[in-house]
């Protein structure tokens, strides 16, 4: 872990006219970490990134870099550089000139020599694997190549934090996967802090060390990817991450971080995410916790609605008396089949009951 590249956000809020983009929030980004801000569009993640970059000013609060308050500094005087979603390459410059641009700025005597500039551009070209394309113009590059140039251009000034604004969302799936690994490798090589904004949960969970889930201008949860997936702290995170099934339950008892819940007459022990004994709860069960079994009057039963193929498994939606239920199975099932559903005695997470809106399904549709 490096010692520079810590970002500290305290009491930051931002409004655009009547719209609240960010409610007052605090966030500590550890030095050298790969930190993702994850949330649906309009949740404020890009606004927060722009405030860190200096492209937007917060209405309240401070932004500090390694302990130094930089809230009032313009972007060019911050030790950060940004990779834009649209790449934002300079169309009238070659790849090499794009990458070297950051070294040609500022007072003449402070600029690196022509020779040093050339060496550092070559070093960057090598880092992103584009040595052979240095003379091309941006209009002659593929999307993946353009994004690599954008990353190299942003890294040449050796920023303490690299800001990435949905850098992969405009790319084809295969290129996106390849660049994801590339970013991870570059991060490991440089130990620069990466602050990565995305609406893609797979992307965030697969490459980050820490994920901040955002919703409605607030931070819902900041944790490592495993915790975000296995123990989402709020209903929103639970619905946004992964694809669980939600059942209404009565809480019989709780204590020791567990809640005894009753779902349609079936009692089991779920993790407690803030429910009260005697109250109602929403219990989330992950598809991998649920098991398809032959129909059995003692168990929850349902009718298969849809069956989709995912390579390693099939995902089936089952209509049950308690609501729709999502399962992963090895063999395909025909729509209309009746089947039983089983889960362990200790499974699921119980959240305080609230009206359900179909958030989880929309997040993919962006």
């Amino acid at each position: 872990m490096s010692t520079t590249g810590a970002v500290s956000i305290r009491g930051v809020s931002k409004r655009f006219g009547p719209t609240v983009a960010l409610q007052t929030l605090d966030l500590e980004i550890p030095p050298g970490s790969f930190f993702s801000l994850l949330g649906p569009s309009g949740c404020g993640k890009t606004t927060l990134l722009k405030i860190v970059a200096g492209l937007e000013r917060p209405d309240t609060g401070t932004v500090s870099a390694d302990g130094e308050n930089i809230t009032g500094r313009p972007p060019e005087r911050r030790p950060f550089n940004m990779v834009f979603q649209s790449y934002a390459l300079f169309p009238h410059m070659t790849v090499a000139d794009n990458i070297g641009f950051g070294l040609t700025i500022g007072a003449k005597r402070e600029r690196p020599s022509v020779r040093e500039r050339r060496e550092r551009v070559v070093e960057m070209l090598r880092l992103v694997g584009l040595e052979s394309l240095s003379g091309r113009y941006p209009s002659e590059l593929s999307g993946g190549q353009a994004q690599r140039v954008a990353v190299a251009r942003a890294l040449i000034n050796r920023p303490s934090v690299l800001l990435l604004d949905e850098p992969l969302s405009a790319l084809d799936r295969n290129v996106r996967f390849a660049l994801r690994e590339e970013l991870l490798r570059i991060h490991q090589e440089l130990a620069t802090t990466f602050l990565f904004v995305t609406h893609d949960q797979d992307e965030a969970l697969s490459i980050s060390q820490l994920v901040g889930v955002m919703n409605d201008g607030r931070l819902e949860q900041v944790a490592d990817p495993q915790t975000i997936y296995r123990a989402p702290a709020t209903m929103f995170t639970a619905r946004f991450i992964g694809a669980g099934s939600f059942f209404t339950a009565d809480v019989r008892a709780c204590g020791d971080g567990r809640a005894e819940v009753d779902v349609g007459g079936r009692r089991f022990s779920a993790s407690d995410a803030g429910v009260a004994a005697g109250g109602k709860a929403q219990v989330m069960l992950r598809p991998e916790e649920l098991e398809a079994v032959p129909p059995d009057p003692a168990r929850l039963a349902g009718v298969v609605d849809t069956c989709s193929f995912f390579g390693a498994h099939f995902e089936i939606m089952v209509q049950t008396p308690l609501g729709p239920c999502r399962l992963h199975v090895r063999e395909p099932r025909a729509p209309g089949d009746t089947m039983g559903i089983r889960w362990p005695d200790r499974a699921g997470i119980a959240y305080p009951w609230e009206e359900v809106s179909p958030v989880g399904d929309e997040s993919e549709a962006e």
Binding site: A53, L55, P91, H92, F101, G102, I105, Y137, S139, R153
Partner: protein, 273 residues
């Protein structure tokens, strides 16, 4: 279907002939060896070009037109570009009102502008000169510059400027190294349009020129007396000078590296010209 597309083809051909025939006739007679304006031509020759270039009045008219057109292109290019930046980059109710206002000269009859300029010159006791000619031309050409440069400024990705700022460039550096190089082809194109409009402007010039005779005015005065084939040679020059300017600009833009972003202004220019 086939019958209809044939009809359409015939209509297009008729239209093209209708538009191009006068051009072809003028150009053909400009190189006519004989002195009658009748078909067929009496061999090819440059005698009419020799004749008009030997005429002192023609040469001074060409010179006056060239000076006026260059000055108009420079002034309208500068004023129009400044205006386009202000309108595109400082959006407000006032700026959009001003922008609509800046288009008014295009909608006014040139005759009206001419009369208005004469009235203004009388009121402020300004004598007609090259200055007043250029003023009239700048009034009618600036809206085109604002339109062309403004269109380019509005359809380009401003995040490249944010990216440059992010890499450490000050606003001045961004303007000099990013914005200006990207917009320059459009500015140049707009200036060529201004040049072409100014070069053969005759209505307003008639009111503001005084004793200065521009090329179009020279042609008019000549037609009053007789129609001789030298007029065709002058028409050919009036046609070819702006075409050459546009052609050279298009070629220059084609050879620039950033093809995708330069193509748009080049097409705009071709349309406007």
């Amino acid at each position: 279907m086939i019958g209809r597309s044939r009809l359409l083809g015939a209509a297009v051909i008729a239209l093209v002939v209708f538009i191009w025939l006068p051009l072809v006739v003028v150009l053909a007679f400009a190189f006519n060896g004989g002195s009658n304006l009748s078909w067929p031509l009496h061999g090819l020759s440059l005698r009419w070009f020799r004749l008009i270039f030997g005429d002192e009045a023609f040469r001074s008219g060409l010179k006056a037109s060239a000076i006026a057109a260059f000055a108009t292109a420079l002034v309208a290019g500068t004023v129009g570009t400044t205006g386009a930046f202000a309108f595109a980059r400082r959006p407000s109710r006032l700026s959009s009102a001003l922008e609509s206002g800046s288009r008014i000269p295009v909608m006014l009859p040139p005759l009206f502008i001419g009369i208005a300029l004469v009235a203004a010159m009388k009121t402020f006791a300004i004598d007609p000169s090259m200055w007043t000619i250029v003023t009239g031309h700048v009034i009618v050409t600036t809206p085109f510059v604002i339109l062309i440069v403004g269109a380019r400024l509005r359809n380009y990705d401003v995040t490249v400027e944010q990216a440059a700022r992010d890499l450490g460039a000050t606003p001045q550096t961004v303007l000099r190294r990013i914005t200006f190089p990207l917009v320059a082809p459009s500015i140049l194109g707009a200036m060529v349009v201004a040049f072409a409009i100014s070069f053969d402007e005759v209505l307003i010039t008639n009111f503001t020129s005084g004793t200065t005779q521009t090329l179009p005015l020279f042609v008019l005065s000549r037609l009053h007396r007789t129609i001789d084939p030298s007029v065709n040679a002058i028409a050919a020059i009036l046609l070819l000078v702006p075409w050459l300017a546009v052609g050279i600009t298009l070629l220059w833009q084609r050879t620039r590296p950033s093809r995708s972003s330069a193509a748009a202004p080049a097409e705009e220019l071709a349309r406007a010209a």
